[in-house]
Symmetry: C2
Subunit: 205 residues, 2 copies
Amino acid sequence: MPNTDTITIAAGHGLAVPLEAGRSLRVVNTHGTQVVDTWAFVATDSTELLSMAHCREVLQRITFEPGDRLITNRYRPILTFTADTSPGRHDTLIAACSREMYLHAGRSGNHRNCADNLVEALKPHGIMVGLIPSPWNLFMLAPVVDGRSIEYQRPRCRPGDYVEMRAEMDCLMVFSACPDDVYPTNGGNGTPVDAHVELLEDLDE
Amino acid sequence: MPNTDTITIAAGHGLAVPLEAGRSLRVVNTHGTQVVDTWAFVATDSTELLSMAHCREVLQRITFEPGDRLITNRYRPILTFTADTSPGRHDTLIAACSREMYLHAGRSGNHRNCADNLVEALKPHGIMVGLIPSPWNLFMLAPVVDGRSIEYQRPRCRPGDYVEMRAEMDCLMVFSACPDDVYPTNGGNGTPVDAHVELLEDLDE
């Protein structure tokens, strides 16, 4: 796997990855247990971004599937979800973990968290977010059972399972290898691990 | 119903209502067919607000029920959902309608919409929002069926059905009598109607 196009998302940390329109990348769940919070901002205007609530509305589904065109808060396609070797059902319902979430759960206020990871990853790109947008929680299993309840489940990914997506416009993607050790969704052993992003060859070049 | 504590949310329009900690209000679906998009901002800091994604996380449910304490994006209780005479299941999953939504649906760019209603209602209070926060869509039926698909359903409310909520901190509430004539959730006859807010007596006074 180590080649020049493979980028490590360090355990518990975030990472911004610019992705040109037409280019694809793969998010690899290297060890099979890691949730990766994912955001995508339009390169030229960060107030337009991948929106879970707008995708749910238009797709009429709470989860996304290969073939889906994912849209922004202005109804423009920003990503196409192109492939998935994992058991899927990547959560779209739950907020990014934050300092306040860990405090609420009785943890330290210094706990690493996806909200701060997003802020830190955007900073070098000159982007400030006010509210933390809802992330696409790759590999996170929080299915809706009985049409009503959310069930936090342990990961069912195999090491190396991945999802692929293609940019439909120039965008800045942000990934956070979620530091959650409160819910069972991240493996539940309190040890976040690395994940990886692979930038895929452009077949047209 | 017309008394000094009853406020009309005009069909297709929005309205801001300050609500002190401990005070309650009732949102009345006067004609039984009207979705009311609802937001609540902390009075002293509008970057803290009722958050659907955080409520879903903590309540482990995609819908809220009487007795639920609804929280902000900082995990503090802002409202208690105290009563509901409607069939419930008020949607938490779908974005507020917006100019772009109506354009995407082939409607006019001048269509009234809940996103602009929010912006307009907040303006006199000196509050600007960047991203439009996900609303609590009172009376909107968009259940998740088969654990995956969202089904847009016609309203099942009776005229006069209401929900009640109590403020847990001083807040500014915003209501929008949704102008949607695209989805069946608003009655599907293309005619948004008025709804009402009743400020309830404070029993302690």
